[in-house]
Each structure stands twice: as structure tokens, then as C-alpha cells.
Amino acid sequence: MGSKHLLIEFTAEPDLNVSLSKLETEFTKVFNEIVQQGIPEKTIKQIKKRFQGHLNDVLKRKNYRKNLLIDRVSNRQPYYGLTAERRALRSVTAQKINDLLTALGQSGRTVIYRANEL
């Protein structure tokens, strides 16, 4: 949202014989735990490795980058090259992510929306 804010969405559907409020309670419990304790360094390394593989696969394709460039430029957004994308990924640390999570945990930062099945 703009260049300074981030909107993160989580959605979940209850399993058979599980109520929506039970799901919400459980989700909130886990969410608060993670926000307070942070994500372990090992998990972040694992996720970074997956992204790395994804970047290697996708970004190397000429048409993908060409289309991405056209898309970014036509939407007046900055375009980062392959090297910059890789550098950006390398510079992500567990500390940065967990700082962001701490901010999410402050009061007034979350909105919960409940919807019944169609």
C-alpha cells in the first residue's frame, strides 16, 4: 500500500465439523505466538532458498523479464534487474522480518473479517 505500508492477508476455511470461531481462536493464538517469538532463523533460510530457486528458474527467462519490464514501466513503477533482485533477496535477514512482525503485533494493526459460505 503505497511505498511505506504493507498489507498482509491470511485466509482460512474451517474443516468439516470445525466452527468458524474455533478456527479464528486457534489462528489468533498461533499468529500472536509467531508475532511475539519471531520466525526462527532456520525457517527464514529455508524460505530464502526456495525463492532463490524460483528466481533462478523464472527470472532468467527472457520473455518473463521483458514482460515484467513493460508492465512495471507502463505502471510507472521502478524495475529492478535480475542482479538487483538477487541482491535484495540476499539482504533479507531474520532480524528485518521479525522487526516487521513485531510491528504487526501492535494494537490496531489487524482487522478480522468473517464470511459465511456461499
Binding site: E13, D15, L16, Q46, K49, R50, G53, H54, D57, N63, L118
Partner: protein
Amino acid sequence: MIRYFLIFATSMLLGCQEDDLNADASDEPRPAEFKMLPEENRSVILATTPRGHTFHFMPIYEPGVTDITITIAWPSNWAYEASRNPAVPYIGTETLLSGGTKDISPKELNEFLSDRNSGGSLIPTADYVYGEINFPKEYREDVIKLASDTLRRPKFDPRWVHRIKGSIRQNIQFADLKTETKMWTLARKANLGDNPLYHFLTLPDLRVIDEVSVDMLRQWHKQTFTQSGLTIVVTGAISRQDAGSSVDTLLFDLPKGRVSPPHDVNVTIKPQTVFLHVPEAEKTTIGILGRLPPTSQGNDLTDRLALSHFSQSGSGPLFSALRTEQRASYGFQAGFFDYNRKNRRLFITGAVAAEQAADVAADIPEIYEEYRLDPNFETLADLQNGMVNQTQKNVGYVNIAVRTIL
């Protein structure tokens, strides 16, 4: 008044030109031991695994190519039996893919594949279930073992099945809101009649989804995933020997099964025009269908080229005629789809303002007929070259190459 138009025309003879575009005689089988022969690179070889499964093999020994794709087509006749629940193959394939086994939970399964930059898909069609796995060569043994366990001993956990049912139901409900879905559903019914194949392709009654039981899924699994009647393709950075042993590991311990004769639902379609009134639609959608010979008779590349040329934006006959004669600012597209292996259709479709619909619907068959009888192929060579270039680029991706061979 807003409506849908559907026009069915009989046998449009696109596939009748003779050429040898699809003459690609398979190479003779070569010695079983693995050698990096440069001439084997990207050539399609018919090979046999140590346990006797025949497979199409296309090694890609090129710098930068590290992926491997294996595809197996399992024949299936589930879609043709009225006594069987038509939703089972959809729910079964999804559950099999993500539901885990006795030894590995759905979450672990997903993590395992994501960490290895690997993935798979299972696609149910009327005549086959197509299974595909992609993985980098360094994870070959891990991924093959997991895929083999998943195929042999899937865990049809009722809770997981419930989730899959929910997402399938939601996807169908969402698609059904679209006006063109309503049109193609009606076309399918008018073409096929109210038979099991129509129900399999459409799932018109969503209650069948709720009625799927774990027992049904197990029965479908047992009779579909056998070792008989398979078409197998392996491509990528892999030796023939490793390809053979990977296929054997994948299929090991699956029931022998038996090959049932292919279903011969050869639908004869009568020329007819169907109108569907959808009061809430904002535009009128036109769909025109024609019958094409099955791809097993060859010439499908000719069809593809002829139809691409016909509908090419800018210079194609369909585009320029509609622009000039109707001054239409909308786009029409043409393409193919299959109801099953025997019944292939050509389609031409697009959306127009309601007041133009009748004229456009009448024009398109005329434009097509003119093209069929007296085509102007001035720009065909360009299109042909463009398609060759695109194909060369595409087969650089290991999984697209495997689909092409299949």
C-alpha cells in the same frame, strides 16, 4: 435483449491438406548403456525399462538444463459409466497430489517438494489421467521415491477430502457465474446429449461432489493407477538408464491392471443454432463450433496453422472481415478443444454488443467458408516461421517438451 448464440456446423475440413509437417519417425532404440552421444540430444527414442515398460525418451544434454520431467498417461474409462460418480476423478487427483501418505503429512509433502524446487500435477480427462512430475536432477531419487509412495499408498483423509471438495465446488460456482461458461455448457449438452461424458465434463449437479466417499476414491485409485496401457515420456537432463529405473520405481507395485478398449463415443452433430437468454448479461457472446478429425489421424499441425492464420489479429481473414464489414472494435478468437480423444472441436468465439450479434453470427460462417474455399496464404510463411521459433523456445522448457511428445 441479450442472448447467447451457439452455432454448430458440421465437418469443417481443415485437416485435409497433405503435408509432412508431422513426419517425425522415432529413432531406432539404441544400446541401453548411458553415453553422452551428442546426436542423442533432443532426439526422441523409444526405450524400454529394465522391468519392460516402453517409454519415449528425449534426453537434453545442454548447459543450463538441469530439470527432468516424467509424464505418464493412465487410460481411464470412469467418465463413460453412468453408475460412477463423475466428480470422483477430480477430487481423487487433487487429494492424491496434496493429501500425503501414511508416512508423510500433506504439510510435509508440500514442504518436501518446495524445498527441492519440484512439483507435480495430475489431470483427469475423459480418456486418461495425465500425471507429471518435474524436478532438478540432483533430487531425482528423493522425488521419485516420494511420488511412487504417493501413487501407491495415498491417504484419503476425510478431512482433506472435505477441503478439496470445498475448493472444487467453489471453483465451479465461480466459473458458472461467467456468461461464456453458461454458453459452453449448453454447447456441450447440445453436442453430447445428457450422457455420462457430459456429466463428467460439466458436473452440472454439484450435489455429486458431496456424495463422493472415501470408498469411491479408493476404488477409482485402484482401477486407474495400474501398470497397463500406459504412455510414458521422460525428458530432460537424465540418462536413459536413470530414466528407465525412475519409471520402474514410479510404477513398482502398482496393480497389473488390464487394458480396456478405448471408448467410441463418436458424436454426430447436427447443424443447429441455439439461443440462451441470460437477462443479466451485459454483452452477447457468440460461439461457433465445428467438428475436427481426432489428432490420432494426424494433420493437427496443419489445423493449428490454418486456424492461427484465419484468426490472426491484424491481417487474418476473420479479424479483417469483422473490422471492415462490421466496424467492430472487439476481438474474436479461434482455437481447439477436445471432449475426448475422438471428439475434437474447432471454436470461434467473441463478445459483441447485443444489436450487432445477429449480423456477426451470420457473417462468421461466411468468412470461414470463403477462407476454406479460397485461402489467401500471402502471410502464411511469416506465421509458420513465427510458430517454429516459438516452438523452439518452448521446447527449451523441459516440461513443455514432454507435453509435445505426449
